[in-house]
Amino acid sequence: MRALDDKGAGAHTAGVAAPSDARPAIALRGVVKRYGEITAVDGLHLEVPPGVCFGLLGPNGAGKSTTMRMLTAQTLADEGHLEVLGYALPHESKQSRLEMGVVPQLDNLDVELTCRQVLGVFARLYRVPRAERETAVGRALTIANLVGRADTIVRELSGGMRRRLLVARGLIHRPRLVLLDEPTVGLDPQIRQELWSLIDGLRTDGVTVLMSTHYIEEAERLADTVAVMSRGKIIAQGTPAELIRAHAGEQVVEVYGPPERLAQVSELAAANGWPSRRSGPAVAILRAERLNGQAPEGARRPANLEDAFVALTGEDIE
């Protein structure tokens, strides 16, 4: 894992001399989406600068997937302004879709086609010129590490292979913006690692990435900037390091013990006004560096994004 410190937004675009006046890749202002009584997205403001990997972190039901669908105009906002790559949605959405790639949360590959056919169809859909299609398909197969499986029918691929093909399909036309909706949900750790390096590679190539996730580790590892979404709104935004510092401090003391002991520690924390949370079989006391030795006995560890997340949303995830 890289040091959190060199993850400042745009650090990896140093070679491109990221222009300070660059238009945002995605700009949402006051976006609202309602489904009957439920307000899935509730006055969302979101700005993704070009060239960064931007993580949209939130629990299930926070409105991440609805937001992702709105960016391709497959869901239409009830209120607000949406702009993707400088194109106003939904009116100019087709133009923006031409220049971006989408990797959906749910596998929607054509199971009856071979990998090569799937990529060939999407090369056409994304208007890759005829003369370049074969090269584009070859490149995508390489990205997905499926060159040896080019003529295998999707149905016969393993889960990890399918997910890699799904990512490669979204990259067939060398998009300058990629939307990844929960890219590693339900995958085993090894496949998750593979996809992480793939996503990291995109960023190195200067592609803007917007990734929604409810895996904190994923956001912490990949994202330059993380926006925490809860109940349809962004409630905090910054680099992972900034968010941790601002919302969980530097250190955490975790106290383990039987339930009575944990209840006691929780009460103690509440009485002293220490921010704390239940974390599995332990009580975690945040900002332990400020306690000057008053903290109860326990295991000290650096604060992480999960602490910040729970402090922000009050919701435990993953």
């Binding site: 990221a18 222009p19 087709k94 031409l98 989408v102 959906p104 749910l106 056409r124």
Partner: protein, 273 residues
């Protein structure tokens, strides 16, 4: 964006390409998927498209034919051979319209993937309907080939049949897509199959003349696009085209255009929320 950044941005050339409505490239892209999938099941489709009319001709042509030699001055087996063209077109357009649409949209989520690409609902549905109707036009010829084997004389008018099948198939594919869009579950298709499609293909002058029916049923036949398809095909194949056939053709074209727009409207509302 600075000139330097512009150069280095991947896909920057794409912004030069302006995108319009109903683009041929989008239609071709969606249809290329259908063609690739067709490569997997064309054998089964072709087999059933030959076997079905053969069964009809054996059962009705030879069975009933033993009782009835001629209908409307036409050899009964030729009457059935030309009639079941419409049946073949109906089944090879309405069913794919219903089932393929529902499966790709609800189960495989293929349409979600396509609509995330630069393809809009109108292009997606138009391409799907176009593909189904092209196929229906070609497979509509199968009963004639079987008919020829049973003694139907080949005629120049047969060359019009794929076009008639295409227009009719376009309408019924649009009808199928519309049913898929309004159906709650795939089982709902049973209502349509039994209450709409089956009577429709029986009250179309396929196996017996509509003129023999009571006035009420005759009126239904008049608004049944399949009846107009049957009449047009029969007149074309048997060399008896007349002014009335312009009317039949007009009904089929109007039906096709209407169902095309209705399909886009109904499914569009479900695909984009």
């Amino acid at each position: 964006m600075s000139a330097q950044a512009q150069e280095l941005t991947v896909g920057a050339d794409a912004s030069a390409r302006r995108i319009r409505r109903l683009e041929p490239a989008a239609l071709a892209g969606v249809m290329s998927r259908d063609v690739a999938i067709f490569g997997r099941y064309w054998r089964a489709t072709t087999f059933s498209s030959i076997v079905q009319p053969t069964i009809y001709l054996l059962a009705f042509g030879l069975g009933f034919g033993a009782l009835t030699k001629h209908v409307d001055h036409v050899r009964y087996i030729d009457y059935v051979a030309t009639g079941v063209v419409a049946t073949a077109v109906l089944f090879s357009s309405a069913f794919p319209g219903m089932f393929n649409t529902f499966v790709r949209w609800q189960f495989q989520r293929t349409y979600d993937a396509i609509l995330a690409a630069p393809v809009d609902v109108e292009e997606l549905i138009t391409a799907e309907v176009l593909w189904i109707s092209l196929r229906a036009g070609v497979y509509g010829m199968a009963p004639l080939l079987v008919g020829i084997a049973f003694g139907l004389p080949p005629s120049a008018g047969m060359l019009l049949v794929p076009f008639i099948g295409f227009v009719t198939g376009f309408g019924f594919a649009g009808f199928g897509v519309t049913i898929a869009a309004v159906a709650k579950t795939i089982d709902n298709f049973n209502y349509v199959t039994s209450a709409v499609l089956t009577p429709m293909f029986l009250v179309a002058g396929t196996f017996f003349p509509v003129a023999a029916l009571p006035a009420g049923l005759r009126a239904i036949a008049e608004v049944n696009p399949l009846y107009h398809c049957v009449q047009l095909v029969r007149d074309a194949v048997l060399g008896s085209l007349g002014p009335a056939d312009l009317g039949h053709a007009a009904v089929l074209v109007a039906f096709a255009l209407l169902m095309w727009r209705v399909a886009i409207w109904r499914l569009g509302r479900r695909l984009i929320d």
